[in-house]
Symmetry: C2
Subunit: 494 residues, 2 copies
């Protein structure tokens, strides 16, 4: 530790500071979805706020996303479209889909606060949502319609746990342009409030005292270190660590099986490291979002995924992230998507998947099995079993909905979705600083670190695993947790 560079995990000691360059109540690090919402809410709760981002414009990874937001329990759009939903169904679904690592308090707060969050987005910020439904099975709506299913709500086992409802709220904009629109609305709201913003400003480390209380942050602006006093708190909204290959390798090697990090270049884990340097715990660091985006065309949902044993391993009507997660777990690291040729539609032109055809047959399943080098008889047995039951609208193994159950018929085709062989497996991280619902950051022993807050992917929030992911839950969690953190910081005594 003789190195004198400023490193995120080496906080600056308060006693070393004789004069501050900037003095504010709340310093927000990162002007993405979480940071913008934190800044707006802190301002609206009476705090002076300064916002810093290392990029030259706002938006972070939220700008690069579709910016669907997962909301329910009876939002204006749900009601207008005649969709019945309840807080309890939403809660049961999110608890079950996130599994044993779910944070019950966070899920509870997110669900109970969801209608209010919708109203805040629409009425306070001016985010437009059309009172309409996008009825197709898709990764995202490419129209300006609003409501779509973005998770595994209609898929087993979740159908047994909670009444499904579409909760993905797509912004009223044509094409995949929700992210830029949402980011611009957030920026406009920040500007309208006169919140001080510094772009090209890289946070280096926190300022702490002997008790561990956070008093400010060191930021590099114009190649100079600027000492920022934050009398009420620092809110870390710096994204996750998907762009930090060392951290991925150390913490989340499962994601090495995926192909494409999703995020902005600033997602280097710097917020997590700064928090750790100030004594915070990072949790769930091994988990991430991962996807194998095999639909659209939705018709491929009628296909089956098989592993190196020629066995199915999932109901194919799940969300693409859940399927992607299980693809990465398969023994033998081989995965094929097999469907009737007609169900491939205009694949590959219309597909995100980028998977290559590995075999086709007009003759027999045996021929395809041989082409794919699957164990003799395995695929024949799998398809015979699947077809016999699908003909009756049943899937006794994995309970795919009868809506998608059709016997596979010749000609058949298979694409190779084996991880690491070129198929598109986007991923980002879901581990981060341990926080309370308030956004307060915790030590490994669960103590609050006074003056430190985190939100979005710098924190470990509602979404905890690809196995239970739904599109819109990360931007939803970022905006929701950003608000909580901003408000908590603003209301903390100086």
């Amino acid at each position: 530790m003789s190195d004198t560079r400023t490193m995120p995990t080496r906080p600056r000691h308060l006693s070393s500071i004789t004069a501050w360059d900037i003095d504010t109540d709340v310093a927000v690090i990162g002007f993405g979805g979480a940071g913008a919402c934190a800044a707006i809410e802190a301002h609206d709760n009476g705090a002076r706020v300064v916002l810093f981002d290392l990029a030259s414009d706002s938006g972070g990874s939220t700008r690069l996303s579709s910016a669907e937001i997962y909301m329910g329990g009876g939002t204006r759009v749900q009601k207008a479209c005649g969709i019945e939903d309840s807080v309890e169904d939403m809660f049961r679904f999110l608890m079950a889909s996130n599994g044993p690592i779910a944070d019950e308090a966070k899920v509870r707060a997110y669900c109970e606060g969801s209608v209010d969050h919708f109203d805040w987005l629409t009425q306070t910020l001016g985010v437009p949502y059309k009172d309409s439904v996008y009825p197709h099975r898709a990764i995202m709506a490419l129209t300006d319609d609003c409501l779509l299913y973005t998770g595994s709500e209609k898929a087993w086992p979740f159908t047994q746990i909670a009444t499904p409802a579409p909760r993905g709220h797509n912004l009223q904009v044509e094409g995949d342009n929700g992210g830029p629109l949402f980011a611009n609305i957030l920026r406009r709201n920040v500007e309208e409030r006169g919140i001080e913003v510094h772009f090209d400003a890289r946070a280096l480390t926190l300022v702490t005292d002997d008790d561990g209380t956070v008093h400010g942050v060191v930021v590099r602006i114009d190649q100079q270190e600027r000492l920022v006093r934050a009398r009420r708190g620092v809110v870390l909204c710096c994204g996750g660590f998907v762009m930090n290959e060392d951290m991925i390798r150390k913490h989340a090697p499962m994601l090495l099986g995926a192909s494409q990090p999703i995020g902005n270049p600033g997602d280097t884990g710097s917020g997590i490291l700064m928090g750790q340097g100030a004594g915070a715990a990072a949790i769930n660091m091994h988990e991430g979002f991962v996807s194998v985006p095999y639909y659209p065309p939705a018709s491929l949902t009628r296909g089956i995924f098989v592993n190196a044993q020629g066995q199915r391993f999932i109901n194919e009507d799940c969300y693409h992230g859940r399927v992607g997660y299980y693809c990465l777990q398969q023994p033998g690291q081989r995965v094929f998507l097999i469907a009737s040729a007609e169900d491939f539609g205009n694949y590959p032109e219309g597909s995100y998947l980028n998977a290559q055809f590995a075999g086709t047959t007009e003759e027999s399943v045996e021929e395809l099995e041989s082409e794919l080098a699957l164990p003799p008889g395995s695929l024949q047995q799998t398809i015979a079993y699947y077809n016999a039951h699908a003909a009756r609208g049943e899937d006794p193994l994995f309970h795919k909905s009868s809506e998608w159950l059709t016997p596979l018929s010749l000609p058949l085709a298979a694409v190779d979705c084996s991880p690491g062989r070129g198929t598109f497996y986007p991923f980002f991280t879901l581990g981060g600083l341990d926080t309370k619902v308030t956004g307060e950051v915790l030590t490994p022993e669960g103590e609050v670190i006074p003056g430190l807050y985190a939100a979005g992917r710098t924190a470990c929030g509602v979404p905890r695993t690809a196995a239970g992911y739904c599109s819109g839950i990360s931007v939803g969690d970022a905006s929701f947790s950003g608000r909580k953190a901003g408000r908590s910081a603003a209301l903390r005594a100086d």
Copy 2:
């Protein structure tokens, strides 16, 4: 942080200390396998050493174990028994079995240093090993014979990667008494060296300065805080966190599916927390050892494990830990071990498994399938496929060795190994402080924290996942990494 209790994550600041109660070169926290080896090696490298343990006797979890040690590359016993082994085969096996989270430098050092470690154990410490082989498939040798296979070396896919050799070294003692014998030998060696030992002494937190350097440790002895100066270093050998349910829930919820924590009551994660408080990174916190100890009788290896889909998911000739890991991953959370009735032998009397019979049939597989409430036809198909190939000595799905391939024949029986339903699933943690091969503890950015060392399960060492575990690798890693850490601390300049 207004609480004034001493918490592990809140280090004492050097500047607050005016006088030390104990002054030494190396303070070792924990007198289990790792701590004893650290203390001995530090002493033998010229350091004054003081050893602290919160228990009233030595041994820690090592004393409670079988104390097999995983060693290879041509140990005296291997050579005497005509076993061919090489450092490279051992290295390839351990890298493959630990998967993408393997630490190559640690695995390399462990394998290259293995023969030397054997010689140190036998010649320096006096650990007795008989030059003999225990030839059975078993969890542990209950005779005084030495060498046995304690991992998945002879199972696919590892047979494709490295030439197998037995590397589990069982101490020369009858029964499951290796742990007490090993612990007593370690204690005798500590005593013979005149190393100062404090029992009933609980380490509370580390002493650090502004630069993060560790200067000592606060220990509670006789209800009084004692300030221990460690001029060269503090070595944390406090075990893992298997007895800390909050930490298990937060970090390793997969282990909640297991049934029985394995360790001593002091395995509360205190060493990990003390390290984190001093700025250290904890890694691999989600992983643990878990097992479903279904053999002996070895004959049950001829059985098959099936999941809720009636599908096999593993070659049943793997190590019981690897099988246990995959049992916990199965969709639907149901797992049955099905075998010909004769292969159950004197089960349950001779079994560790504690699993209940869930079904038996003298009539047909269909009857058993129905008793187990498996999907209609699924088990019939699985067993028909298995039997047809087993008759030819083949397992095209999972490549179980022909040694264990016999068609399943009526009468059949099934025991319910579903996690959480009473079956014995022992577990302990494999996450811990990030360290170098030297035992030096690292920050999240990979910087060395001067004066801080960790070993055994307080550190994240060679064993990283149940999926690749082999018995003897944890005591092996503890004793090996303890030595490294003790030596490094002893040789650090004051």
